[in-house]
Homo-oligomer: 317 residues x 6
Amino acid sequence: MTDLVTFGETMLRLSPPRHERLETATALDVHPGGAESNVAVAASRLGVDATWLSKLPDSPLGRRVVSDLNRYGLEADVVWSDSGRQGTYYLEIAGGPRGTNVVYDRADAAVTTATADELPTETIRDAELFLTSGITPALSATLERTVTDLLEIAREADTRTAFDVNYRSKLWSPSTARETLETYFPLVDVLVTPARDARTVLGAAGDAGEIATALDDEWDFETVIVTRGADGAVASHENSLVERPAFEAETIAPIGTGDAFVGGFLASRLAGDDVGTALEYGTAVGALKRTIPGDVAIVDRAEVERIVAGAHATISR
Amino acid sequence: MTDLVTFGETMLRLSPPRHERLETATALDVHPGGAESNVAVAASRLGVDATWLSKLPDSPLGRRVVSDLNRYGLEADVVWSDSGRQGTYYLEIAGGPRGTNVVYDRADAAVTTATADELPTETIRDAELFLTSGITPALSATLERTVTDLLEIAREADTRTAFDVNYRSKLWSPSTARETLETYFPLVDVLVTPARDARTVLGAAGDAGEIATALDDEWDFETVIVTRGADGAVASHENSLVERPAFEAETIAPIGTGDAFVGGFLASRLAGDDVGTALEYGTAVGALKRTIPGDVAIVDRAEVERIVAGAHATISR
Amino acid sequence: MTDLVTFGETMLRLSPPRHERLETATALDVHPGGAESNVAVAASRLGVDATWLSKLPDSPLGRRVVSDLNRYGLEADVVWSDSGRQGTYYLEIAGGPRGTNVVYDRADAAVTTATADELPTETIRDAELFLTSGITPALSATLERTVTDLLEIAREADTRTAFDVNYRSKLWSPSTARETLETYFPLVDVLVTPARDARTVLGAAGDAGEIATALDDEWDFETVIVTRGADGAVASHENSLVERPAFEAETIAPIGTGDAFVGGFLASRLAGDDVGTALEYGTAVGALKRTIPGDVAIVDRAEVERIVAGAHATISR
Amino acid sequence: MTDLVTFGETMLRLSPPRHERLETATALDVHPGGAESNVAVAASRLGVDATWLSKLPDSPLGRRVVSDLNRYGLEADVVWSDSGRQGTYYLEIAGGPRGTNVVYDRADAAVTTATADELPTETIRDAELFLTSGITPALSATLERTVTDLLEIAREADTRTAFDVNYRSKLWSPSTARETLETYFPLVDVLVTPARDARTVLGAAGDAGEIATALDDEWDFETVIVTRGADGAVASHENSLVERPAFEAETIAPIGTGDAFVGGFLASRLAGDDVGTALEYGTAVGALKRTIPGDVAIVDRAEVERIVAGAHATISR
Amino acid sequence: MTDLVTFGETMLRLSPPRHERLETATALDVHPGGAESNVAVAASRLGVDATWLSKLPDSPLGRRVVSDLNRYGLEADVVWSDSGRQGTYYLEIAGGPRGTNVVYDRADAAVTTATADELPTETIRDAELFLTSGITPALSATLERTVTDLLEIAREADTRTAFDVNYRSKLWSPSTARETLETYFPLVDVLVTPARDARTVLGAAGDAGEIATALDDEWDFETVIVTRGADGAVASHENSLVERPAFEAETIAPIGTGDAFVGGFLASRLAGDDVGTALEYGTAVGALKRTIPGDVAIVDRAEVERIVAGAHATISR
Amino acid sequence: MTDLVTFGETMLRLSPPRHERLETATALDVHPGGAESNVAVAASRLGVDATWLSKLPDSPLGRRVVSDLNRYGLEADVVWSDSGRQGTYYLEIAGGPRGTNVVYDRADAAVTTATADELPTETIRDAELFLTSGITPALSATLERTVTDLLEIAREADTRTAFDVNYRSKLWSPSTARETLETYFPLVDVLVTPARDARTVLGAAGDAGEIATALDDEWDFETVIVTRGADGAVASHENSLVERPAFEAETIAPIGTGDAFVGGFLASRLAGDDVGTALEYGTAVGALKRTIPGDVAIVDRAEVERIVAGAHATISR
């Protein structure tokens, strides 16, 4: 039995070496990147039996995605498609005031036509927890429907569900996003949202704790987690708030920090930890992620536990 | 006044280091690649005042294409588009029996919507020669029409026209290709075709000389050139055949050899050379191209002339 | 149920960029390399459900080996050890007269202490075919015993067995090797040996066909395959000889060719092909391997079938 | 009509990867670098029609310089020389206390023999603005004279002139520099000087504002700009002082910041902006430059405007 | 006559590019690293005639170590061994909270069997100063004895001796270390110890000055130096304490800082400087080392003197 | 006592990665290269105690040269100069018909001012053999004189002398070269010349053997060696001709082959071998050199002896 199943798009990320420009770089590094596979990798690095579902083109590019995820120890259960593209995105990483810039080239990806009928939904029925994110329905009308179907399949099978709001302004407007996401919320057990997205998309107000409480009150989730970047995260769970700060990190690669947090949080919860402990695992995995090139948290349990335990980074020899 | 104007798509080519596989390469080299800009670069390296027309997305990827072509000394006159993708292709280069493999990711490129109305056709009217290739109409119905329009504009303005058959089996079928191309032939002065394409698409038979003669007889071109890869090229011109062998080359990067040949041939013709001399320039530029990574012939006139003159490659010090 | 199980050591190979010297290279490329995992990867790339058994140190180096093999699609079932090293080898690749040089640094690898008791032998019992090679018993007295135990377990469970002689002169003498290997032969169904090893170690004489026949006569194997490098391979099977030439290849990375051959041969046999067809698959995978950096045949079924079908390598676009 | 023409030397910069030492680096990165072409690139990235004049050896090295500048979108109008070297410099970039070290190898560069007679001075006559810097006359007696000639040509043609003091202690002494520069000042409309150079070379005293005012009073420039590195810049213009702070930047490559500032300032002025706005464009381009490897500000107008508008760098997706 | 002789193990260090993980890096950088050769290189860069003694395997790996040390200007006088490994270590460098991780693979190195009989001890007798460190006896019982022998040889020959405690918790326990080291102390003239090691291993208490005084009182060294990382170092010498702060540095590569300090200190002392000046040279070389990739301080005397003189790092041009 | 002393210029060679063009390469590899240091390295790799004399600028570039040569095991005894450049050359390596191209940037190198007075000529007096080549006097009038002085010093001290004609057409004309070289010949014991140079410069005619005999007859050398590239070499010695073919090699880096030959030949002669054996060592080292990137033969004695013994290159494991 699988512990965690996630569904979504994974792109190939093409990025110049740190600091260089897309206009002049002579080679681009290749990494896999997708919110839902990022979560599943992070969880599986902590010992969760995780599977990622998706639809990919039957091409060297699609196979590359699976090969990369396998390398990180993640099981991929993929529908191979004869049509549709492999989504890509170009990432230029730089410090301020230039900042980091994402250029999406993900239109018409094979995954945009994925329906519940063709996906191996039995895996969802057999899992403990199913997760997807707000990026998925933003990709196509088909996927908007598929997300509903998968959440309903999970609900029917008593598989708990988690949903990360993950708002992407280059994909849809706040109002469209809200309208869609709110159709999912009754089917969601664990909601994760950046405070910023809650304000932009969900009309939330107040600080992170107030947002978590208000969302929990309105939709009666099992748990609501509101993340605040460098300021940590707060959870509303069983009518109380639990809060944890972030760990300090030398940030090399910020993209994927939120997914790493979710993967760490869910892994800890699946292992039976309480919400406070799970927030600590989430922030520890997130902090480690920031030091690791690429979008994925290539961590191991021992180093996460060392950080949760508060050990300082030194040279060990 | 511009000597040569070409029109077509230029893609970003993403390729693993020589011998490596797309599935495992950690970085991909970036080069611009497009038949018609390849021709224009090769010609401009020999002193031709060449301009490439196209339509590109107004993004770092589209701007990258222009930046790369400028670097090689080519003028680009581009319509910037708010919609449409930057075409890309993935190239895995290997020796036999693995061979070289192209994975196109060029659907919905911005250029596929380019019309004669929006392009700077005045440049064509003012040029001595206009060239496009059989790849362009294969990309979209709009471009099929645009090619007709541009050839007609050239004809009206007494700008001579050149057309390279450049058949791509991943884009269209031989019969569709033939039907389309034959609508262009009455508007074409100089036809270039690989012998293989002439057989596959145009129903030609016999050896390269017979193919050239037959095409010339049927369509009454000014010049027909039939290329035979490592066996050189033959031209039918003013009712006689001219033939030249290829120069031997250590082949590092075969893609673009044909375009380099065309660029060298046209540059020589534009400089007033006879067809035989022009074939020699074409095969010399093609041979040099095979030694140069990327799709583009980054040559200079002195080395081309040294090869035409038959000098052996030695260490010069 | 697993189709193929292999057992042996996989090292980390550290190699300067092609042509450079170990003495001056500033960085070394890292690849996994081990005869038995090489075989299993090659077979799994052709669709075989393959598992590799071994014992590795519980360190970033040991985990690296599993991560790399997972990446190529191979399942690894590994005993993690708190003692013993991760075997490594240094490889300097060069053309003649310099030649390619291997510097082993594999003493005291964790795998040298692996016993049948601690290994997941149930996997062997459930498999169709079990393979190991002559490298394994050469590594330690413990492993010499373990190989016997595993072959006996397979025999008892009606799992067929394959054995590749793979003589390594830096590990043991021909006479010691022969003495040990001949204790295994009664337990082996499919024997693979390079003609050179058969002559050096097993006292064979004559050409490859004569060697195969003699070995088959003496030990009554199900199948004996004698490989001859660039001259292909010959099999003795059910009292007749089957012979196939090698495919020509541009050789970039010869190490692992033999293992790729074995993986291709066994995959074909497991799929029900006759011995002649299996030899063709073996030589095709071996030829592809020679074009691929590293020790492992990162191939796919389609390209192997294209080569078996005799297609020439061209640029496909 | 060209907006901006600059004249000076552009070298090839050879630098080890960041942090490495010249003594042990196995490869050196190649970038073009020269104060006056840096200014022209920065301005042209903001939409100015800019041309750089110089004299280069007719060699692969000289052609490389033009190729690189073309790549960034700059027009180069160059006298090709059969004698004289291509200037180079070696740059070791490091943090404190090691610091960044420049090793010039620029003696006898082709440009040191450039005279006004051979340069395409018509371009200067047709331009709105002509710029050179204090590096140019420091290179040779011939160039000292040529600078006078070009400034006079500009003055006669009503082309405005700008001059950046750019004192280089490895090229000449403060007193020689002052003597020479003061012969130019009557021909200069816009003077730019680092506060440090004004103190070392021009005998200035006081803070940047006092320096600007004093220089303006003494020489009656149209505008004097005094730059203060991380503390921004101050301009004396029409009897009043305008001051702007620098934007904070993660500094990867400080060399070229001053030139980027000048390019941004002049582009803004040429577009009709007031001096205060132009200072903001200058400091914004300078701040961006600090994040970009190489000596040249490969920016685009949109990101400069975003910074001038005060937007924070975030991940845009 | 040699000024300084050191004895110990030098490993090959294999490290992923900064920030990358051992699990996924495709290439590993190679550097030599060993406390005693690090000290000797640092001293020789400042003009000391230094020689490093050791025992290495007669293989491309062992020869590589000598080649690298020669490159930095160090003389190596090595016993070549037909048995024993070349010690290696894997180093993953990262910022917090991940931190830097060392994976040793140094068991059974050739040096572990080195005896005083086979080493060129005449070099020690002829030198002014002999140094080894606490790493050496931790490697084998043979080396524990060899260190005693070499210190006695030095003492007999009136060669002064220096010893760096250099405690490595992965090699031995604090109590075993203390027991061994205290047998050496009567033979040691100059003791260097990190404050942390003094507390962990030697049972010291109090601040660095108190530790230095107590050690000096107990063992009557000529000089005791206690280092405190970013807080500088303090020396007890002739009944008084001398203290110097560290220089600030942008830390790229912290490993080897302590050895660089010792090399700088000893070079200054050998040149006749007083202890305070020598501490300044030590901290200056240590600060430079932190900016230089690898374990070795590739510095020159001029830059060290510039830092000792208090000059700020600027761009010199 | 030193066995072999050589004198000449060593440049820094800057070269794009194999196949790439100087115009577009983003990084250049750095190698030391100079005929006389190449010879000395090759000889020292075979056990000769060799020293290279020269004059270098006291800069990071000059120190780099010594550091690189030390790395290969060569002793450098250098006059450090405050004036004069470090010679460099740019090398573009390519197959035919492009060929390999050298761009010298060696004017005004520090070595061009080297006089016998300032060089450590005692080393020459104490050596068995002194070598320089025809490149050295071509660099300056001063060096033309210095070569005479050094040859005379050697002659007086009974140090044997060797001279390699090494004609460089980019440095001087054949007639000037001949005039100068012939003033040296009476002072030369061992003359080495490529057959091509003998024909171009020395007016020789006939095949290599005839050239050797004629030169020997005319100038009464101890030994004359005439090299013929891929056709091996012939020596005239004591009135008889000795001839050896070249070994076949996969040629990666042809530059330096001749110097490697000379180093191998002289090392063998210094070891007491006869001329035939020495020719074999020369051609073996030359063949190995062709497989090694850079200008220098980084070989070891064992592999040279293996080739001289006629062993085939195989994979040794």
